[in-house]
Amino acid sequence: MATIINRTKEMREQQAIENGAKKLNSPEYRAEANRINQKMKKVRRDFQIKDSRSALSASRVILTS
């Protein structure tokens, strides 16, 4: 005798149907997703500049105390 718990992709899809899954893909949602993505690109760019300067300043002082 054995207990088999089979976690499959199909099982997950079935679970989603049972939970009333629906796609939110109207133009409104797609536009908002695009806006957030553009925003995050800007955040990342800003982050990378700060990041490169952080690395540069890391060789200024020797930690010796």
Partner: protein, 501 residues
């Protein structure tokens, strides 16, 4: 305390070949401050000669190459809560009892005057221990019996083979090696070996290390090391990121100096935890000063007060090789506990995060992304004139799913949905709560982000977001946003990283 002094000074004289005056000076200046922070109920077991692998490494690579007569053996002090007797270590029942009272050890090495070597002290051995910190278990022995020391590794610098920077590197690797099989401890000679190709001068006697050398060594030891500088990110974001990573259970190497104040101190310490979050700390928290114009407008338009856990003015736990283990200090004054005014005006300048190499989405980006989703009217649609408390942390999906599976506050169908979602090895967890709920260690909303995905295109980095009757997640294949009918009520905050909040 007088008793340990009386016992130890003759042993220091005999084992380290020093005069009584020198032994007394060493005890008073280097050892006593560490012993004074311990509870009065601590009893010591003194063993010598003791072979310490860290000091032996320094001895064979450096001290033995000198003319001077350097001793190669150490003294070990094991600590127990309550009185101990010789029979406690020879009878099975009593051994089990004494194991429960074992609170760590200290090694004294013959590096005059900085004699305090490797030590692991359980926070329970301290008079004041109302803090949370990362720690691990270390296999050790005392009087021939195996014990487990639980705490975070600490040592003072010997001033020649290890300075503050090398000591911080050693301690962080000692911690990771004891917790995860992916990493190995770093002896002083290993650190020298790793850095020899990027060091333009001789490495011993040590002059210390630059921040970028520390980050390089961390990278060579198997991490995806990252450096953050205070002057680049500004005070608020810099301190906020330290708080996020500490909440994530990651020990950080912090660089500090007093050069701006005209001083000449530059130092490395470890940050390993924070004080327990009291109701007073939560009550005194002000709404976050949102730096992002778009997010600030969203908050203003709907009159939403957003409180950020990382803004709490709490003390953090530092491991400083010049001071006793587990020092509490604010990020603005990390060395206020020093008696010397020159030291007290040191400021944090950089910190290094030993990230798992495949974590690509960092704290700064993850928080911004989470806020963009949280404050968006299409998704969460938070009501006007409300207040929320947000807490962001990094954790492994294994630990997170394990905690969710065992948590009784999640509805069964919602728990099942979360547990079935495929997740990367590490995830960012943003818990949405209120000040009132946080005091009860509860939350009401959840955002999970993929820490391996820096690209936010089409919800790539989103795993799920849930708040009240909203449960959204991106379709596994198309990454289109999906909604299902599940309701999330209040649930327990995730406290595994620091075993508390």
């Amino acid at each position: 305390m007088q008793e340990i002094r009386t016992e130890l000074i003759p042993i220091l004289q005999k084992e380290f070949l020093v005069s009584e005056e020198t032994a007394e000076d060493m005890y008073s200046s280097d050892l006593e401050p560490h012993l004074q922070q311990l509870k009065n109920t601590i009893y010591f077991l003194i063993e010598y000669p003791y072979v310490d692998r860290i000091y032996r490494d320094s001895y064979y690579h450096y001290f033995s190459t000198k003319l001077g007569n350097y001793k190669k053996d150490c003294i070990r002090l094991s600590m127990f809560d309550g009185e101990i007797f010789p029979e406690d270590f020879r009878e099975e029942i009593r051994i089990n009892q004494v194991a429960d009272r074992y609170l760590g050890f200290m090694v004294l090495r013959p590096t005059i005057p900085a004699i305090l070597g490797r030590n692991v002290i359980a926070p329970q051995a301290l008079q004041t221990n109302d803090f949370l910190s990362v720690g691990s278990s270390f296999h050790t022995t005392a009087n021939a019996i195996k014990f487990q020391a639980k705490g975070f590794p600490h040592s003072s610098q010997d001033g020649e083979t290890i300075k503050c920077a090398e000591t911080a590197l050693w301690a962080i690797m000692e911690y990771f090696a004891s917790r995860y099989s992916d990493y190995k401890p770093a002896l002083p000679s290993t650190i020298i070996e790793v850095l020899k190709y990027i060091s333009v001068e001789r490495q011993i006697p040590s002059k210390g290390l630059y921040v970028n050398q520390l980050a390089f060594a961390i990278k060579k030891f198997g991490f995806g090391s990252r450096i953050y500088a205070r002057e680049e990110y500004g005070d608020d974001i810099f301190k906020s990121m330290i708080s996020t990573y500490i909440e994530s259970g990651l020990p950080l190497i912090c660089a500090l100096d007093n050069l701006d104040a005209g001083g000449s101190i530059a130092h490395a310490v470890l940050a390993i935890g924070h004080q327990i979050t009291s109701d007073d700390l939560i009550d005194s928290l002000s709404p976050t000063d949102e730096k992002d114009d778009y997010l600030a407008d969203l908050l203003n338009d709907k009159n939403i007060q957003l409180y950020d856990n990382d803004d709490i003015k709490r003390q953090f736990v530092f491991m400083d090789d010049n001071r006793p283990a587990y020092q509490l200090a604010l990020l603005d004054s990390p060395t206020l506990h020093y008696g010397d005014p020159d030291w007290q005006n040191c400021k944090l300048t950089h910190f290094i995060v030993p990230l798992y190499p495949k974590i690509y989405l960092e704290a700064y980006e993850a928080k911004n992304y989470a806020k963009n989703l949280l404050l968006n009217d299409l998704y969460f649609n938070l009501p006007r004139d409300t207040e929320y408390f947000m807490r962001l942390l990094l954790t492994s999906s294994r630990s997170y799913k394990n905690a969710i599976a065992r948590d009784t506050t999640f509805p069964v169908n919602l728990k099942s949905e979360i547990l079935e979602i495929g997740m990367p090895k590490f995830i960012w967890v943003a818990e949405i709560s209120t000040k009132t709920l946080v005091k009860q260690r509860q939350a009401q909303g959840l955002l999970l982000l993929d820490a391996t995905e820096p690209n936010s295109q089409g919800f790539n980095a989103l795993i799920l977001m849930a708040h009240q009757d909203l449960f959204l997640y991106p379709d596994n294949d198309t990454k289109e946003l999906m909604q299902i009918n599940l309701t999330l009520s209040t649930f327990n905050m995730y406290l595994n990283n620091l075993n508390g909040f």
